[in-house]
């Protein structure tokens, strides 16, 4: 299966490990992720005003690229666009819903992009997790596991943009299970966290609200730890930054706080599929290697 794929800016800088692990994991499952040619930044957060069309242009322009890949024969009638970054996924899907349900708006966007072909509303924006659930299936994933992640207790952190708003979300916004099912299929043990969809503070990490974010990270990490979690997985590079890198500040605010590894779900997949080096654990702030070594999950069978 050959699928068009939108990386977004952060996967090319702060979250290279997310992408690298995803590409080998997808390949292991028979999926070739083909990066969109000439993709551009989606805008990271949706504009929410009813009179703003301009800020949806960037998202829609990326969808035009999927049409072009089909027109150019790079893809064969494949209009599902796969996204890894949960924030980009949210923005692209929301703009797509808006543009395809509002002919006037779509017309304005198409007239504005006068050097591009018109967007015809044919693209479906999918998060990679949806492809895993709906097209590959968790049983098939389980059968492809080379190194079951036995004894590793992992908590899923969903955050906001995978789940909300309802029309964009990929699972029940109040009780999601998709990542727990993935954890299970990889042979690890899913652990619940009451704060798994509590906002981490998002972009407030940039301004003067770093402490708010570090406190949020504490609540989320401790929620998982109380249930026995040893690591947390996420699908958002901003959540990852807030939960992972911000632990340096969390540690200062809460004496006695113990660091916990924060991984991308694709890193866990790459490890279970036998691609330890592509799992790129050196890209994480809190080093997950000691935990994985303790569990006997480092130095397992390697795929060539």
């Amino acid at each position: 299966m050959k699928l068009p794929y939108y990386p977004g800016c952060t996967l090319k800088k702060n979250a290279k490990n997310f992408e690298k692990a995803a590409i080998v994991a997808a390949k292991h499952l028979g999926i070739e992720l083909v990066e969109l040619p000439r993709w551009n930044c989606c805008g990271a957060v949706s504009s929410l005003t009813s009179d703003d069309v301009m800020h949806h242009v960037a998202a829609i322009r990326n969808l035009v690229r999927v049409q072009q890949m089909n027109d150019d024969g790079i893809l064969d009638n494949e209009y599902r666009l796969v996204v890894l970054c949960a924030m980009c996924f949210n923005v692209l899907k929301r703009s797509n819903i808006l543009a395809t349900s509002n002919a006037n708006m779509l017309n304005t966007i198409n007239s504005f992009m006068d050097t591009e072909p018109d967007y015809e509303g044919t693209v479906e924006v999918k998060h990679f997790l949806e492809i895993l659930r709906d097209d590959v299936g968790f049983d098939a994933i389980k059968s492809k596991v080379i190194n079951p992640l036995k004894g590793l207790k992992v908590s899923a952190y969903y955050g906001c943009t995978l789940l909300r708003p309802r029309e964009v979300g990929i699972d029940d916004p109040e009780a999601p299970t998709i990542m727990e099912r993935l954890i299970e299929s990889l042979g690890a043990e899913p652990v619940d966290n009451p704060y798994k969809s509590l906002c981490c503070g998002s972009y407030h990490t940039v301004g003067s609200n770093k402490e708010v974010v570090a406190r949020r990270a504490y609540r989320i990490i401790e929620g998982a730890r109380r249930n026995g979690a040893e690591a947390i997985i996420t699908s958002c590079p901003l959540c990852a930054f807030n939960l992972d890198n911000r632990q340096a500040l969390t540690e200062k605010l809460y004496p006695g706080f113990k660091r916990m590894p924060i991984l991308y779900f694709t890193q866990l997949m790459a490890l279970a599929f036998g691609y330890e080096s592509e799992a790129s654990f050196d890209g994480n702030f809190v080093d997950p290697i000691p935990l994985l070594e303790e569990k006997g999950l480092i130095g397992m069978k390697v795929q060539k």
């Binding site: 702060n14 998002s202 901003l238």
Partner: protein
């Protein structure tokens, strides 16, 4: 009037709100807010312009929890955005872009620019 402006920018019907407080109950940022989300709605309905100087819209992280919980389908995140936009459209920036640490994830930087500058 403030109410008309917010209605126009957000596209939301604020009269739909019956002040149940579910938005506030689920909001992760209330600890940092000076007005609770349901109070923001009430203030706008009363055309109380003081709400434009409240911290609340700037603390809102656009997490969409309120909208998922609201039994009346009010999209409170859009109302917070409308309040921010009223300020930002009068050429007021809420952050100094020069002070941003560029090593942060791009999505964080771009999001900050989108939400805090006009």
């Amino acid at each position: 009037m403030l109410l008309e402006k917010v209605e126009e920018i957000s596209g939301e019907n604020l009269y739909a709100c019956y002040q149940c407080g579910r938005c506030t109950a689920g909001c992760p940022m209330t600890g940092e807010m000076d007005l609770m989300p349901n109070q923001v709605i009430l203030a706008i309905l009363r055309n109380d312009e003081r709400v434009l100087n409240a911290k609340t819209p700037w603390v809102c992280a656009q997490c969409y929890q309120c909208g998922v919980r609201c039994p009346k389908n009010v999209d409170i995140a859009k109302i917070m955005e409308a309040l921010r936009e009223i300020k930002l459209r009068s050429n007021v920036n809420y952050i100094d872009l020069k002070k941003i640490n560029r090593s942060y994830p791009q999505i964080a930087i771009v999001a900050t620019m989108r939400k805090f500058t006009g």
